[in-house]
Point group: D2
Chain length 434, copies 4
């Protein structure tokens, strides 16, 4: 976790204090269920709730762990210090550490997912606002970085909206993947604990019981979770790259908001750099790098080994914290992005009229010229625009072969921008359903 790319809300989920709190709740709920089953005395279950408002002493627990070399045992020992050794005697009975650890990890991932989902809503809202704002702001569409045909800035925002809306749906599915808990004992057989305990704890912690656990909750769930975050990060990169391109000096169709007092460069006072979206590009890589280790974590030996644990101690917090930060940063970038419609028009006309070449090609074909001939006619005029700075429309008007097929009016009509934007409303309806 990199402090400068971390928001407190998400960081808190991964604090030791939060973890111990969740451990406590799981143990206490388990005691309730055990008492109800008659396995342990009701008063011992009740006693555990005495610690309800305790803030556990992380340093003390660490101290105990230094001796026992086992974190859950250290916590239970500390809990007994609050509840009383005698009363705490039945805490954790029939359970294994992983019952607590794995269920807790999933609680944390679910909470993290909830924050991420809210983040995505922010980004989606910003994208939608900007999409409608620039629905009709014409700019050139580009393939291969080369001018193609006109489109609108609104469509750009709209497609990012559609992409992140898919991302959100995927994240909801990923959240469901990890919203399970397991209290199934040493190797998942419920030998020492009744399935009813698992059901009770899961219900209280807003999880579903894992249908079949071993000692651990199967890691394919987590692999899917982190893979999904990786895809969302890739979509963030996609948007970031677009904005970085738009801001480059020669294009300058948009700029990240540049606040008063901000310095683009210590050496070059004229600079205004797209540092936020460059940063998002890097953050996307950081999120994505969790995907492969999360997949390598799936194949555990027999009922479980613990190779996954250190990986998850890293990627659990790091990936969710980084993605949360990135989504928030992205929301801000989009909300405040400064758009330059005039520059869009200027860029589009860099090669005068050239971007209309396909329409002319189609018109020639419609007028009976063979596809091959039409392509040749258009290309020969296009290259003059490209290489000699000529005006495409004028060249076409002056080309006898073209004129044999198309009248002056027909040629002129091909340069109408409205032709390219006529289906924008249709597409917006598809995307925003309005």
């Amino acid at each position: 976790m990199i402090p400068r790319y971390a928001r407190k809300e998400m960081v808190d989920i991964w604090e030791p204090a939060t973890k111990f709190r969740i451990w406590y709740e799981i143990e206490a709920h388990a005691c309730d269920a055990q008492a109800k089953l008659g396995v342990i005395p009701q008063e011992n279950a009740d006693a555990v709730w005495k610690a309800k408002d305790v803030e556990f002493d992380v340093a003390r627990i660490d101290e105990i762990e230094a001796v026992t070399k086992h974190d859950v045992i250290a916590f239970l020992t500390h809990l007994a210090e609050h509840v009383g050794a005698e009363e705490a005697r039945f805490v954790h009975q029939g359970m294994t550490s992983s019952d607590v650890l794995d269920t807790t990890f999933n609680v944390q991932l679910v909470r993290a997912a909830d924050i991420l989902l809210a983040d995505m809503d922010k980004v989606l809202a910003a994208l939608k606002t900007r999409a409608y704002e620039h629905k009709d702001t014409v700019r050139i569409g580009r393939s291969h970085g080369i001018h193609a045909e006109p489109t609108t800035m609104g469509l750009t925002f709209a497609r990012f909206y559609a992409e992140l809306a898919r991302g959100k749906a995927r994240l909801e599915a990923a959240r469901a993947e990890v919203a399970t808990g397991a209290i199934s004992g040493a190797v998942g057989t419920f030998a020492n604990i009744d399935p009813a305990v698992e059901e009770h704890v899961c219900e209280k912690m807003d999880l579903r019981p894992e249908p079949i656990s071993t000692q651990v909750i199967p890691r394919d769930r987590h692999a899917m979770f982190f893979a999904t975050l990786g895809v969302i990060a890739s979509s963030i990169e996609n948007i970031a790259i677009e904005i970085r391109h738009m801001q480059r000096t020669e294009v300058l169709e948009a700029e990240e908001f540049f606040s008063k007092g901000q310095k683009g460069s210590s050496a070059m006072p004229h600079k205004r750099n797209p540092v936020l979206t460059e940063n998002l590009t890097g953050l996307a890589r950081l999120v994505r790098m969790a995907v492969v280790p999360a997949m390598e974590n799936v194949a555990l030996w027999h009922e479980r080994d613990i190779s996954h644990s250190s990986v998850e101690r890293g990627i659990g917090p790091d990936t969710t914290v980084t993605l949360d930060f990135a989504l928030n940063r992205l929301a801000g970038v989009i909300e405040k992005l400064v758009v330059y419609p005039e520059n869009m028009l200027k860029n589009m006309n860099k090669f005068k009229g050239l971007v209309m070449s396909q329409r002319v090609l189609l018109a020639l074909t419609q007028a009976g010229v063979s596809r091959e001939d039409a392509y040749r006619l258009v290309q020969r005029n296009a290259m003059k625009v490209w290489e000699e700075g000529k005006d495409f429309r004028e060249e076409l008007l002056a080309d006898a072969d073209v004129r044999r097929a198309l009248s002056e009016a027909e040629i002129n009509e091909k340069f109408d921008l409205g032709y390219h934007t006529k289906h924008v409303d249709t597409i917006f309806r598809r995307v925003f359903g309005e």
Copy 2:
């Protein structure tokens, strides 16, 4: 694609002939829609279907491409050789190459997914059969590779079933992700082609129209698709690792089927190696390696660049072919796996009675011994079994401190295997819903 790890059915999807066939269908259906809209003459649309039964000449198309350096134009030129240059004049009108290429790629991925889904059904069926067959075959559960407590072989099969059933549900979602088509023209604005054409073509090709495309279908869909295959591959690895462990000489609880005439080693005639599951371990890596590049493919420049294309030419076929092969191999391994229940019992009793240590611990606690004391009592007897080969039950019976808390009958009762399998039926119901 590695020929030895490839099945014809899946390979066929990626053959040039299949690709051209799909291109043809898209173009022909698009002509139908264009004719219905009155954009092109009906007879020209009809003429395209003259090629309905043609097997396109891949070598001829390659020949043309060598000149045009453009694959779709090469195909269209060849199509015109069949349909007639005049009649073919309106084919592809208003479309851009990517309309054909991307829609085709998705058709291929959907078909690949359908094969993979059928493969998974085979694996699931095998796992279920073996799970019921060995529902009550007791073996030791292991955490960290160390004996823990008894479980059954049926539970092992059942958890793999549950894991792959999740995998199948994920694959269905991944299939839906890529089941879209786009016929939206140069930069996705439908400037030169009506959205109705896209709708018609998609319906005919069993796809949904992509709500907003640029020139390409957005690659977050494909990133999600390949990520999902990576998770499934990781589950295959998980099963493979289990079987490899079971077959190792000291364990020998199961073996891959070893056919007559097969040689395990050219040098050591006594060898029977788990080569199929070792192979599956490697194949899982091959599938998984597509995940990161598929994510790197998401961020394209502006409306599209073509950096993703070479990647997809590789991972499209390679990943689906490898996973298809792996799933089929896995199905065979499971169906034919030779299980050795006697060895399971023998292994479980390697340290006599030791695996019952938790039950004794719980019993001591229930009998009023503090958790800490109980742990110490159990551990000191356990270590004698571990280090001196003693019998755990006998040591307990001979330990005065233990006997103060537990009677002989109570101690003996803790060594009943049925205690560990009492919830197997419950778990099977959860997994198989029966």
Copy 3:
């Protein structure tokens, strides 16, 4: 391996026929050494060389393997068909399959590395030529995609040269990593074969004996090899991205060579796309994806398992073939790259004089203005150029605060391009050592 991105020379290394040829040589050389040691009769060793000019029948070997399910045994059986069963009796004696397979794989990797090294020489030569050609071609340097200060096109080529020269040195080291062979028997103890055999075979195959093998050559060597290819691929991507940026319509400082008859787009006849460098971007991803599985291959079980094998059947050929193709394509792109010096100048002056802001800042500081004040003075004039299209030099001349520190002549002198190129020769000497 994707046929369209494959060159025959590299593909040949991975053909079954090549593989069997290397197998044969290893076996024959081993027989020589065994005969010299007196382990097998000299005439049997000599007999093996009868097959010296045989082209082995790949289909026949496959046929035998279908029965034995063991490739080396299949080959040996086939070899006996040529040499005579009796004479061939001692072939492979004391060896294990991996002695042959692993030594062969390394021979192939070494040969592949040699081709790649030659490829890199081609790229380096092209970069050097273009670097000197454009040593003094001034263009704007850009950080964050934003104009910074002037540099030259020659420096761009020179830095790519330096980067790939490092890549070549790395590849030489990687070649050395895999230039080992092992003929050490079943678990690497030389129990059944004398180390002298290994020495002889390695010498004949231009390899060093692996100091300690198990049954296999340790896979950290191969991990390092493929990691190195991944770094080189990343450098290719670096160059490709630069060219793609230079070709984008608004920049147009360079273009990939566009041959006669080539069509940029089936729909838009005006297009000239940087498809080769976009392709290189994708190919880089394909090469890079081998890195992680090659690392996952390192941890084999005990003396060996065979999980690495399928991975290497994939990445061995695929990665070297793809990188070889990419390097050759890159050499061509650089050799033929069309550079537009006028556009470079035009772009540099998009914001008139602005790129000289740092020099003015320094001059102000030198003239006694505090750094903070100087920054403010420069930035306020810079922003007028940026936002209102003013000329930076004129604004400075008109700014009373600036003029208090700098005279007109001093200001004018700051706009001399030679200032920025004065160390180009120094840098070239560092890079090219001339």
Copy 4:
């Protein structure tokens, strides 16, 4: 960085205080060089050294950065607070932030590499000691997890020694890769700063001048650095997996040291788990996950973009800290590993005599039996050992076909263990050069 897997020595390298200290040294040395060149007054250069013993106030610098949004400017502002605004006027002159940042990052990586190299020495020393200790401790070699032929525990340690010795050599090369500095100004042209400054600073900081930088030091160097760490991590995983296998209950040929008071499981008091090597397996994944993003960092836009920065803020500390911890943990595991030679013998004889099958095969061949027949003879006796628990030697003695070729004495001689260890000294000489 995960606190529980972090050693202070390495963590310190990445503390803000260390970073600012290095920044300071670079700036101060640069001033010296500038003064010597006559670019700035000597007294201003001298003045900077007034801060020589200052511990910079990290919180104060953060405070300034909150306004300037630029870290280097914030530091320089703070430095001026110590040195005096007037005296500090020439600090950083002609330099760009990256001159400081990139040179600093490389200083940190070099220091990190030095610690890692020392770590590797510890591991190597431990491996060597244990190798000689168990040079003649016979155990079964295994391929595919299946018994193959005898080897010794010393050879296992020796091969890990050889592998990590290669790793160390690679790390030395990787250290050299990143041991460069750059003080070349805005776009690397030295326009505003003389190359002599770079030379002076690099000499003082124990770096080589980067032959050609842009604004940044090229990232292929860092990609190579992190790739190398990834390979070393994979070797750690390799060793960890071996130990985990040795400790599994059925094998029990070695155990991690288990200290007094340590608890293997909260629920199962009998457990002693290989948690350290399982942990190392996970840590290896964490190190390895930096490799791909480090490679993605290579392709920066034009002279630089800043996408790499956030990635390096993560992987710089995290990867070196994790690897440092892992190497230290590994050294401890090896030093204290408890080895059980008797269990090794017991395991080897699980299938009585079977592991000698190859020797018998060879003897039969030597005695004139055809290879195919010999294989069949051996296999048919081997299978009886495998399946019926027979003694291999006795079966052979009782097999008339075998006896036709081999006498009783000849057969008995094949079961001599010394046969398998006769070249151990040779191999040790190759590895340890002694």
